[in-house]
Subunit: 274 residues, 2 copies
């Protein structure tokens, strides 16, 4: 556990404090709590790249900016150790700006992202699709932090799963769909936490035949669509096609008012035992 | 109309012939048939960036590669004139390779893309979601090339719309959804045409209130999921959220066998009169 995260009670805010090295370069240590096993959690890496990109755009004189899209290639999986981020603007515009971000560990390129920035819409949407889950966890929802010896994400986020959402945990199979509720511990969700939530659920393919293992993300693009209201975020994840070793995950994150705040889709590889 | 496209009867194949300038640089002229008004059609720009990226990876010794994902920021809209493409590899791997591609016009960066490459799965999917439309156009489907004075895309692709799919054309309103069938003229669809098809339908927001105009793409990520079988491709497009000037379009392209070949999602800006 890194020094910066002790005692504030806001483990998400602490996890994305970047050290500015100047000239669009930043450093941060990856924490064993925001982790999947021995590797950094992809959702947090998305947040770090967004934050570095936005900081660089702001330094270049772009107006106050929200992330509108973050698109990343996961080239290699970072270890739980320091990483550096390098942000290079592609366009600073009046409405939309864009910046490329490289994430390196030991001078190796691990991820490459493009962050698209602008101003998130406020007010009532003209059109909004119904959310699936209700705004609060069901009374019988499962809490993964209640497991003995739990570590990682359930210790830093509040997570709840509908009683029937994870058949693989009961040794059963089902369609490649999952859902749940999530919020950061000690603070209300913001747009960066909405981004992280686009990768928070276990891989949908775990349900298909119960194979559980490393399911690396290849490409993940998240659109941010609004600033989340206080309260739980509801997350729905489903695969359209699982073919050979390749599967998609299409994740929708809806806030407590019923508004879509993140749409994330990833191409990933079905579990290989490591 | 460029010289290279006269007379072959395969306007799609002709449109993506790149001139190799060496060192990962390519040139191509944008054609007034693959156009939306006076600007280049985004779906073709995706194809050109994919092709340049794959050519560069092949030159760098990567094995035979298919596009698995193409993710692009549309920074500026290219005119119907020559463009240059510059491809720089990010990773050449055994399973997955990745390359960044810049598209320039008159030395200005117009688009930036990342192309993720690997080998498309063959054989039966483990899981496949049902396609919406049937494999062939309905008998009463509308053919936009039958309009008097038609130009642009309907002259180079076969396109059909279900009779009820485009209420905006009848001065009516409806949900932000569209669908249709498409195939290239003079050849069977390939994976690059599947990529192009992820952006082939009119903007879904035209249906919401009948506003028709320039609806620029901001970010578009397409996943390629399989090699299309011969025949028509069926395309379904829907927006989840339309909020302020920002809307998403989630497009699924299914081949004649019922297999998903492309999943494309874009963030776009609602029509502004130009």
């Amino acid at each position: 556990m890194s020094d910066t995260t002790v005692g504030t009670g806001r483990p998400f805010a602490d996890a994305h404090v970047l050290t500015d090295l100047g000239d669009g370069r930043f450093r941060v240590a990856l924490d064993d709590r925001w982790a999947i096993g021995s590797k950094a959690f992809g959702g947090l890496l998305m947040v770090l790249m967004a934050k570095a990109g936005l900081a660089r755009l702001t330094a270049d004189g772009a107006p106050a900016l929200d992330p509108l899209a973050v698109s990343a290639d996961f080239l290699r999986a970072p270890d739980l150790a320091p990483v550096e981020l390098e942000a290079v603007p592609l366009k600073v515009g009046r409405t939309i700006s864009s910046v490329a971000v490289r994430l390196l560990q030991d001078d190796r390129l691990m991820l490459h992202a493009t962050v698209t920035a602008g101003v998130l819409p406020e007010g009532e949407p003209v059109w909004e699709t119904d959310a699936g889950l209700g705004p609060e966890p069901d009374p019988d929802a499962a809490d993964p932090s209640a497991q003995p010896g739990v570590s990682g994400l359930p210790t830093v986020c509040d997570l709840r799963y509908p009683a029937t959402a994870l058949p693989f945990l009961r040794g059963e199979t089902g369609p490649p769909r999952m859902s749940g509720w999530v919020r950061p511990r000690g603070e209300e969700p913001d747009v960066l936490f909405a981004l992280l939530s686009g990768d928070i659920l276990p891989p949908t393919v775990f349900n298909l035949d119960g194979r559980v293992g490393w399911a690396p993300t290849v490409q993940l693009t998240a659109l941010l669509r609004g600033r989340p209201a206080p309260g739980w975020l509801r997350v729905d994840s489903r695969s359209r096609t699982v073919s050979g070793t390749q599967f998609d995950e299409d994740v929708t994150v809806v806030d407590s008012r019923g508004r879509t705040v993140c749409q994330a889709r990833q191409l990933a590889l079905a579990p290989l035992q490591r």
